[in-house]
């Protein structure tokens, strides 16, 4: 173990216990002067309860407005090795599938140009390289692109889209999340690299309503797999489950719309009242499956900021066929209509969900040319955003 340059009693506390520790990992890289100073400055921040990082500025690669986040120490005389300690976001492969060779390549590139510290992965999904000097930004980018990687998004642009493992490993995937994520990333390269929006815009692709990538909470546009027809039921397998599962208590009583009935022999589902919560399917995966007519629901307006003001997405398009042959044209058309309106009228740092709250859902829908439908509600069987004429006059 390399001898530490600074005493770090507060950080050392975070090494105790059986769980992984970022302090432990940083100390492994302490043979690099940059990491020594990063640890020293972090200890100082813990002592003083204040961050000593400044961020922003002019750093970036030629032609791009995102992907590099300028980070500077406000104590450069004391910690000169981290006077500039820029963060780089690298676009991850769909669903984070790597070969070990790709991982080695990334690590080698980063050891050549930066601190060697990584965050796999950032909350938007990117591979995050933590800490390079300003001089190394362009050479790092050149090295990445030479090996087939590109920077991800940062600033007021489309952020790097991400997706769940989808059909690669999950039989519940209602569309090919990996293909859709890759397609949208390629289609909107300009929006990914050149900021033109009031604020960030995130896409997340979830294959089913289990929403393993938390798209409904963490993205401005959640593309969530769903189905239109009936849940597929294997009655023999249900009977098998009945030997170990109390179907009445654990499935019927917990169904949010009480649309499942069990008479001890047969499981009946009133599919017209199913809200696709996935609970019954999750409890009896060998007996139940999503229907065969599969696609996605498009939800808009979520965000999960660190301090406050979280919003969940709302349904915009209840069902969209996610046919690869159609090149996701409907999703692209809807996205461009939203970007045009929000881009022109959104305030600085106003996410699209906040913009919708400010102008009102019905005005927003009218402007982007989307007809209101009964599925556009805060939650199923809850308050609607829009009252239809016949309801008003009843």
């Amino acid at each position: 173990m390399t001898e530490m340059k600074y005493k770090t009693p507060l950080l050392d506390e975070l090494e105790k216990g059986p769980w992984p520790s970022f302090v432990k990992e940083m100390k492994k890289e302490a043979h690099r002067p940059m990491v020594q100073d990063a640890i020293g400055q972090l200890e100082r921040s813990y002592e003083e309860h204040i961050s000593h990082w400044k961020h922003g500025g002019l750093v970036g690669v030629m032609g791009y407005g995102g992907g590099v986040i300028g980070r500077y120490s406000d104590l450069p005389e004391e910690f000169p090795e981290v006077a500039a300690f820029h963060t780089h976001r690298v676009n991850q492969p769909s669903a984070w599938f790597y070969t070990s060779e790709a991982l080695r390549t990334l690590c080698d590139i980063w050891e050549r140009h930066g601190s060697g510290l990584t965050n796999m992965h950032g909350s938007t999904g990117d591979i995050v390289f933590l800490g390079s000097t300003t001089e190394e930004i362009e050479p790092l980018f050149a090295d990445l692109t030479k090996h087939g990687f590109d920077l991800g998004g940062s600033g007021s642009n489309m952020r790097t889209p991400s997706c769940c493992v989808g059909p690669a490993r999950c039989e519940w995937a209602c569309y090919d999340t990996l293909d859709a994520c890759y397609n949208i990333t390629q289609e909107f390269q300009d929006e990914l690299h050149r900021p033109f929006f009031p604020y960030k815009y995130k896409f997340k692709f979830a294959g089913c309503p289990n929403d393993c990538v938390a798209s409904i909470a963490r993205s401005d546009c959640s593309v969530m797999g769903t189905w239109k027809d009936e849940i597929q039921v294997n009655q023999a397998a249900v009977l098998d489950y009945a030997k170990t599962v109390d179907i009445d208590a654990e499935i019927c009583d917990l169904c949010p719309t009480r649309c499942v009935e069990w008479d001890g022999k047969t499981l009946e589902i009133d599919n017209s009242n199913c809200v696709k919560c996935m609970h019954c399917i999750n409890v009896m995966p060998k007996a139940l499956k999503p229907g065969k007519e599969r696609g996605a629901t498009i939800l808009i307006g979520g965000k999960a900021p660190i301090i406050g003001g979280a919003l969940l997405c709302s349904v915009f398009v209840p069902f969209l066929e996610m046919d690869k042959d159609s090149d996701y044209e409907d999703l692209k058309e809807l996205t461009e209509a939203i970007w045009d309106l929000w881009g022109e009228h959104g305030k600085l740092r106003e996410r699209v969900g906040e913009f919708i709250q400010r102008v009102g859902m019905s005005n927003f829908l009218e402007e982007i040319g989307l007809d209101p439908v009964p599925e556009m509600v805060m939650a199923p069987r809850s308050n609607p955003y829009i009252f239809f004429d016949d309801e008003i006059f009843e």
Binding site: G63, G155, D190, P195
Partner: protein, 76 residues
């Protein structure tokens, strides 16, 4: 839309950003809106995006992050 060229829009954008140096940061959309106002129907958002890209790719302007993304003159 045939009368105004991308180069003309780019030059007008550069002039605008230069004139605002030290006074106010401009977002890419602010710059585009002002161009559409200046040139009227001869210029649309697509054309502004192309002009801006030309300026950024050539290094005459650069992006800056200060809580949001702005376009500005590169540091001397």
């Amino acid at each position: 839309m045939a009368d105004v060229t991308i180069d003309q829009v780019a030059d007008a954008m550069f002039e605008l950003v230069s004139s605002m140096k030290g006074k106010r940061d401009l977002k890419p959309m602010d710059v585009s809106k002002q161009m559409m106002e200046k040139f009227g129907d001869d210029v649309d958002k697509k054309m502004c995006k192309k002009a801006l890209r030309q300026l950024i790719d050539s290094g005459r302007l650069t992006y800056k992050y200060a809580g949001g993304s702005y376009v500005t003159l590169p540091e001397a």
